[in-house]
Subunit: 125 residues, 2 copies
DNA sequence: CAGGATCCATCAAGATACTG
DNA sequence: CAGTATCTTGATGGATCCTG
């Protein structure tokens, strides 16, 4: 049995599922894997997300200890988001998921013209 | 650019995210990784799921080519679900996710008494 | 046994406008 | 620049009952 902030789980998969069960968090982390990013950079790189949703998701990830937020007391403001150690440990998960996505397109989809927005990542942990 | 049933993606992660962005699919696949299962077995093993939801999720996974459904013309009925090749390829994703879940509990949670419902899986692909 | 059929509550997320 | 504040909606999933 696993306890994570007051909630009991009988399956480690359910813990990850519970955290990442939404449309955006994995994408945000995927972009942070290539290095820390400012709010605006994330807003531009994570396709189609709205400011409100980005803010909400960043707060949730911070609260769960997966990303860190650093605000610089400047005008104009500057806020930088980065992965915590446990957040960084998602790298192999995302890499496997990326590979599976490619496999899935190969089997059930098609490749087409047009640029992709994959960040360039090192595969090493 | 990736095309998957009429939808365009610029990121392979988004493909996986789009498919598994719900409360149940990954858990169902996790249980199918230990072997094919009947409807009733899944209903009992996937904690807390309702019959309707299980049916809906199985249909969605079948439609996306990730699981296969085989119905035996018997009375009482017998239906067996199993992973397709591309579904089986989710094994490394789920294994990494499982490991991360354990890491996350180690850092941000606690282990406790009580049995877990993890299926016993081989780590090999 | 393996669903199907309804009805319903909730909530994530989009759109839009505003601010320290 | 990095957010807030409202308003609104579509879909997910829960509850319950029914059936080939």
């Amino acid at each position: 049995m696993y306890l994570v902030n007051g909630k009991a789980y009988t399956c480690a998969i359910a813990i990850a599922q519970d955290i990442f069960n939404d449309k955006w968090k994995l994408g945000i982390i995927w972009h942070l894997l290539s290095g820390e990013k400012r709010y605006k950079e994330l807003f531009e790189e994570v396709c189609e997300i709205t400011q409100k949703t980005l803010t909400v998701k960043l707060r949730e990830l911070e609260e769960k200890g997966i990303i860190a937020r650093e605000a610089f007391p400047e005008i104009p403001p500057k806020v930088v988001y980065s992965l915590t150690p446990i957040g960084e440990k998602l790298r192999p998960v995302l890499n496997e998921m990326f590979d599976w996505g490619i496999d899935y397109v190969t089997v059930c989809g098609a490749f087409s013209e047009g640029t992709v927005c994959e960040p360039k990542l090192s595969k090493k942990a």
